[in-house]
């Protein structure tokens, strides 16, 4: 009660004035509304599988079918190398971060426009929308990871299998690599979602961008097929570093691809920071333009 009265006596003062130039990033606002991020994430997850027969099983079926198809096409038919690891495992270890990235990029890219009725009617930090779209993708990532563990167990335990899971200390770096995946994902998502408010072309670009991005990332093939002199340029795709990082942690097959990782991390951080700045600058016109 006393706290209540105090808040009445001393309400927080907000000044609303035009902002010019580079708006302050004002991430504090995002913290004040962190519960909203939580609720929006929770909504996206709840709604995703409502009124579906299979429900959350979709999060299992999608990666499993993908691995089956890719194994058939790229391993059996095209005969791509998988660095001595069974192809399904090799492929799945890359599909984990790719699934997180592509799903989040597509959801978050459209998220502001999908939630336009909220944006044109009430105030809340607009960042909460793409951020929660990205976070909602983590749940599917978790489920897919569980399936991956089952796959490893299957290959390790089934009689006659030549594969056994190699434990290396690199596994402990996994959270860091996941974090890197989130940074890259969020950076791209912020750019696309803010652009989509003004240029609806983004909605048309997304499916095709996803497809191209899929093939320039070493998911169905190994990064080693790219010649040494192109490695630097290749690492400019932040997903290359993320995927190679995942393989390094999960497969324990090669040494730390530190060069790739450093370049990709730098690109990811640049994407995130520039995405934040761009988003914040566009934010002031969202409700007028959307």
């Amino acid at each position: 009660m006393s706290a209540n009265q105090q808040s009445k006596a001393q309400p927080e003062v907000t000044y609303l004035r035009p902002t010019h130039g580079l708006a302050a990033l004002n991430l504090r606002d995002l913290w004040v509304y962190h519960e909203l991020v939580y609720f929006l994430t929770w909504r996206d997850i709840l709604v995703r599988y409502k009124q579906t027969v299979l429900g959350a099983a979709w999060a299992v079926i999608q990666p499993v079918v993908q691995v089956l198809v890719f194994t058939f096409i790229f391993s059996n038919a095209a005969g791509l190398s998988s660095e001595g690891v069974p192809y399904p495992i090799f492929n799945f270890s890359a599909l984990l971060p790719w699934g997180l990235f592509s799903k989040a990029m597509n959801d978050a890219g459209r998220s502001l426009v999908t939630n336009r009725n909220m944006i044109t009617k009430i105030y809340f930090p607009r960042l909460t929308i793409p951020v929660s779209s990205v976070l909602a993708g983590l749940v599917d990532f978790g489920i897919a990871f569980f399936v991956y563990v089952l796959l490893i167990l299957y290959y390790t335990l089934s009689p006659g299998s030549t594969y056994s899971f190699k434990f290396t200390p690199a596994l402990f770096a996994l959270p860091l690599v996941i974090f890197l995946a989130l940074i890259a994902t969020l950076g791209v998502s912020l750019w696309l979602s803010a652009m989509n408010v003004i240029y609806r072309d983004v909605g048309h670009i997304l499916p095709f961008l996803t497809q191209v991005w899929f093939f320039v990332t070493p998911i169905v093939y190994s990064a080693s097929v790219v010649s040494q002199k192109w490695q630097i340029a290749y690492a400019l795709n932040p997903l290359t570093g993320v995927v190679e990082g995942f393989r390094w942690c999960l497969l324990g097959i090669h040494s730390l691809p530190w060069q790739l990782l450093v370049i990709s991390s730098l690109v990811a951080v640049i994407l995130l920071v520039s995405g934040l700045v761009y988003f914040r600058n566009m934010e002031r016109s969202f409700s007028d333009e959307i």
Binding site: K8, P11, E12, V13, T14, Y15, L16, R17, P18, T19, H20, G21, L22, Y33, E35, L36, Y38, F39, L40, W42, R43, L46, V47, K50, Q51, N115, N117, M118, I119, T120, K121, I122, Y123, F124, V197, I198, Y199, R200, D201, Y278, N281, M282, R284, S285, S287, D288, E289, I290
Partner: protein
């Protein structure tokens, strides 16, 4: 109690025409519009386009300054397009002012957008939490008020049912219940009275006076002058984006009614108000005339009245029809009528040549019941193009003095009040 709740100084908001809400552009448009425009559009994030030509922009609000002290209930009145919504949007932080500053002491809650962020697939319970969070409530705050919200909404049996299965009344009650329990220091109410049933409106008004009595500040925007008079102490009048009058409510309402801002039976479009895609159709005026041929905003139910649409055609239009929709204040359609409803006449007309026209019709006596109505205008070629559409051109009242059944002093249900010939037979 003399603390300031809201202080607004030289507030202004500039809109670029064509980028108003409901429009968006594609990259192609930007490229086609030429290098200059595209550079301006791309740079939009980095510079306010103050240099853009005057004719492509409009000040929705300009040089507005006022203060509201804590615990005051302030009315805001003005015609459509006077800047009321823009002002509320700025104060509730939805949009940023182009110039000036607004100082807000405390949290702003709004009853103008109840149910924003409700997701149809989620249950009532889930939506309470989600909507609460969107409105800025903390989780513990929602936990604490949950039962109260459910009680207020009267939907306890359906609280675990997805809201898409709710009736529109239940949906609205639940949405309002959440918004009403936000307990902001400043409450913004915009035309809630236009939606929902009578019971719901009563509840809204009750909640508003509760809020006012606990010493919080209320901004009340409405076209309903009697509600403004009943609920507010002081009122500001906006016209074309400017604050033109501020006074105790009675005085302000008198000023507003007298100065013809209430459209007084007439709506005139200035050239800047007509959207560019209406071409070649240019609406000029919509007028209501009573039986004596005078423009009036209050008509008698027992007398015929006429509706006139004056417009200009820059080029000939094939199959053009110009007409009106008549709606109740709650937005229910009463009737629709076009100037070429007569099929023979429509066949004969074909192309309407360029020129200056008036389309006029007479609404016969004993058509409308007493109450408030809205006229909307539509000019279109059927299945080809809708040139112009304004769904809220003019508001007017009908007085039923002398109408059938008026000797019983009870309100009659329904929007129409025909004089029917009754025969009583004894069998």
């Amino acid at each position: 109690m003399n603390d300031i709740a809201i202080r607004v100084e030289s507030l202004g908001k500039l809109y670029r025409l064509g980028t108003a809400p409901e429009r968006y552009k594609t990259l192609r448009d930007t490229i086609v519009n030429g290098v200059n425009t595209s550079i301006r559009n791309l740079r939009r994030g980095f510079a306010v386009s103050a240099a853009s030509p005057e004719n492509s922009t409009i000040w929705a609000l300009r040089e507005v300054s006022f203060e509201v002290t804590q615990g005051k209930v302030m009315g805001i009145v003005g015609r459509n397009g006077a800047g009321k919504s823009t002002l509320l949007k700025i104060l509730s932080r939805v949009t940023e002012p182009t110039e000036g500053v607004a100082e807000i002491h405390g949290r702003v809650g709004s009853l103008l957008e109840v149910g924003t962020g409700f997701h149809p697939e989620l249950t009532g319970r889930e939506n309470i939490y989600l909507n609460g969070a969107i409105l800025g409530m903390k989780r513990i705050e929602i936990d604490r008020k949950f039962d109260e919200i459910v009680d207020f909404s009267e939907v306890e049996q359906f609280i675990d049912t997805p809201v898409k299965r709710y009736s529109s009344g239940m949906y609205l009650r639940l949405a309002f219940a959440v918004a009403a329990h936000l307990e902001p220091e400043i409450l913004v109410v915009d035309e809630v009275l236009a939606v929902g049933d009578a019971e719901f409106q009563r509840k809204c008004l009750g909640k508003m006076s509760d809020v006012a009595q606990t010493g919080r500040t209320v901004l009340f925007v409405s076209h309903n002058m009697s509600a403004v008079l009943r609920l507010t102490e002081e009122t500001i009048v906006l016209d074309k984006g400017h604050l033109v009058y501020r006074a105790p409510t009675q005085q302000a309402v008198d000023y507003y009614m007298a100065s013809g801002f209430s459209a007084a039976g007439e709506r005139i479009w200035s050239s800047t108000e007509v959207p560019t895609d209406a071409a070649p159709f240019y609406p000029m005026a919509l007028r209501l005339k009573n039986n004596q041929g005078r423009v009036a905003d209050t008509l008698h139910s027992t007398e015929p009245f006429s509706i006139e649409i004056e417009y200009r055609l820059e080029r000939p239009i094939t199959g053009l029809r110009v007409g009106i929709y008549l709606l109740t204040m709650r937005g229910e359609y009463v009737f629709t009528s076009f100037d070429l409803d007569n099929p023979d006449q429509f066949e004969k007309t074909g192309v309407r040549q360029a020129g200056h026209y008036v389309s006029r019709c007479v609404v016969p006596a004993n058509t409308l019941n007493e109450g408030h109505y809205i006229l909307a205008v539509n000019a279109s070629s059927f299945r080809i193009k809708r040139y112009f559409w304004d769904d809220h051109c003019l508001a007017f009242s009908v007085d039923a003095t002398g109408a059938p059944g008026k000797h019983w002093p009870e309100p009659r249900l329904g929007a129409v009040r025909p004089a029917l010939e009754w025969v009583i037979e004894r069998i």
